[in-house]
């Protein structure tokens, strides 16, 4: 009565010989304990994991989401083509440029608008800036869930330089609303480029060597995270993992390389992959992508062409639809945009990478120790705003 496990009709094999299901589970309350990991847990963010433990071993994990649901997809239907970006960017505030770029490319595809080259390059610079900002928080929070909060502080110092650059560019630090269908909203001034270069300089000369000395190849960190949450290559594809988590399992999948958008086709960079597929490999993928992104920004700034940065986007867009994938900081972000010939989108469906990673997580958390739950959770590198939308 009132037992959520029996209501859901799950069956568990607690002992090898004895299968227990349904009402009998109530008798096992002493043995099987349901823990709420979250909503108030410092590492979980605004979501809850129902964790059933048998002693110290996790039997089953059930994510409970929806605490930050904002109906972004529905809200977009009430906007015009231009100002829908404020809803799209709020999918996740940490890397807001990737989502805005994806939406804008989809809208431009429907309207058949050609972009000036400068807009593509500025988008690339901003997207990579957003990726760095996001990866810095990912690195910091991964070590943070193990109880060491120093790397988070170091990462925030480096992140602050990039936020300063974004502020010079768009006027806001986080919700920048700077990429619109038809280009980018502001001119990339010399001061912005200067700030961006100084931020990348700080990242490459101060942050990366200092951080690498302490928190990369760290023996304590390795003991804690190596061999935990292992996903082999075939299973990663089967589960539908996305982003750094997929690349850590040895699948070289990167939309920037496979289907280049913005100016990625003209820039030289490599896709970071690892073979191990455990939590430490995912951490290292984030780390190496950070270094790679800094190189991309330098290349894009060097190759920044002159000219216009914004073209005219029609108020009414002809009927049609487009599906666009962009490589967001947390993986492949899909936008299915439909137009019915009106002044705004008819429907927008966002395919979120964090959501895909979340539902792969219960599979990875079977038969692990309870203390490994936060480590696997943080290594999957998810964003709650992205999960709920």
């Amino acid at each position: 009565m009132g037992n959520s496990i029996s209501l859901a009709g799950y069956t568990f094999v607690v002992e090898e010989t004895k299968e227990i299901s349904g009402e009998d589970l109530g008798l096992l309350q002493e043995k099987l304990l349901q823990l709420n990991w979250g909503v108030q847990h410092p590492a979980s963010g605004p979501m809850r994991l129902k964790v059933w433990v048998d002693g110290d071993e996790v039997v089953k994990v059930d994510p409970d989401i929806g605490y930050v649901l904002r109906l972004l997809e529905k809200l977009v239907e009430y906007r015009t083509w231009q100002n829908a970006i404020v809803n799209v960017e709020r999918a996740c505030f940490i890397d807001n440029f990737g989502t805005m770029t994806g939406y804008s490319i989809a809208a431009e595809k429907i309207a058949d608008v050609e972009l000036p080259k400068k807009a593509d390059y500025v988008r690339t610079i901003l997207c990579e800036g957003g990726r760095i900002v996001s990866h810095l928080i990912g690195l910091g929070s991964f070590v943070g869930v193990m109880g060491v909060h120093t790397p988070m502080q170091w990462a925030l110092i480096a992140r602050e330089k990039f936020l300063d650059a974004f502020e010079v560019y768009s006027g806001q630090r986080i919700a920048t609303a700077s990429i619109v269908p038809g280009g980018v909203r502001f001119e990339p001034t010399g001061k912005f480029i200067e700030k961006m270069v100084s931020a990348v300089d700080f990242l490459e000369k101060e942050f990366i060597p200092r951080y690498a000395e302490v928190f990369i190849d760290n023996p304590t960190l390795k003991i804690r995270s190596q061999g935990i949450g292992v996903v082999p290559k075939e299973k990663a594809i089967e589960l539908g993992l996305a982003g750094p988590a997929l690349r850590a399992s040895g699948v070289a999948s990167d939309v920037r390389k496979d289907y280049p958008y913005a100016a990625y086709g003209e820039l030289d960079f490599k896709v970071v992959t690892k073979e191990e597929g455990d939590a430490y490999a995912r951490y290292l993928v984030i780390w190496e992508e950070l270094i790679e992104s800094a190189k991309i920004i330098r290349q894009a700034i060097e190759g920044l062409p002159e000219g216009e940065w914004r073209t005219k986007f029609p108020i009414k867009v002809p009927a049609g639809e487009a599906y666009v994938n962009v490589e967001w900081a947390r993986g492949c972000f899909g936008f299915h945009l439909v137009s019915d010939g009106g002044t705004g989108p008819y429907r927008l469906k966002m395919r979120a990478p964090s959501f895909a990673n979340l539902w792969a997580m219960p599979e990875m958390m079977k038969n692990v120790k309870l203390a490994d739950v936060p480590v696997i959770f943080a290594s999957l590198y998810m964003c709650h705003g992205d999960i709920d939308r």
Binding site: T80, Q82, N83, V86, E167, S170, G171, A175, R185
Partner: protein, 199 residues
């Protein structure tokens, strides 16, 4: 309590008094930032400034606003028929209203680098009443009224001139009726021939 400890009490008390008085005259650990007049960057998106003299009342900003926080307040004048009023409590400072404003070269609605928006004794009613309104609305309205008067005067003058001209023409036509009557049939005759050819 021993005698030694009892002797220490006045000594420590004076120490504390000295420390407190020192702290009173020491420089502040925290700064009152809104007095400093810190300048933000070029595109900083802060408080709105609405220039009623430049505004043409097209309500493009109200349409561009993603959160519908801009109301168009009717002015009673013709030229800016309505002037935007921004509900500051709901504004998300995205700056899309500035993008949409069609006035050139200077925009009628602008986001400035003033970011100090402090309300004292805040209640919900006060917050909802907090708006950014056009600063020079009265002057602009006076100007607009004057302009309207001027325009009306000009119109009336123009009307008078027209009437005079018509009267003059009528007089002139009365004098030259015969030559006009000869020309007219010739002009009308040409198109008639063309239409016949087409048929």
């Amino acid at each position: 309590m021993e005698a030694k400890d009892a002797l220490k009490i006045p000594f420590e008390a004076t120490k504390k008094v000295i420390r407190v008085t020192k702290a009173l005259f020491a420089p502040k650990a925290t700064e009152i930032w809104w007095d400093k007049g810190i300048k933000r960057e070029l595109h900083y998106r802060g408080k709105h400034i609405i220039n009623a003299e430049l505004c043409i009342g097209c309500s493009m900003c109200a349409r561009a606003c993603p959160v519908n926080c801009i109301d168009m307040v009717p002015t009673g004048v013709k030229k800016p028929r309505a002037v935007p009023k921004v509900r500051a409590n709901e504004c998300i400072f995205c700056g899309l209203c500035e993008d949409a404003c069609p006035t050139k070269p200077e925009k009628a609605i602008k986001l400035t680098d003033h970011y100090s928006m402090i309300l004292e004794d805040v209640t919900w009613d006060k917050l909802t009443e907090y708006t950014f309104e056009p600063e020079n609305l009265d002057e602009a309205l006076e100007k607009a009224k004057k302009m309207e008067e001027l325009l009306e005067k000009k119109k009336q003058e123009a009307l008078k001139k027209k009437q005079q001209a018509q009267q003059a023409k009528a007089k002139a036509e009365a004098g030259k009726e015969k030559p006009l009557a000869e020309k007219k049939p010739q002009q009308e005759g040409k198109p008639q021939k063309e239409t016949k050819g087409e048929e």
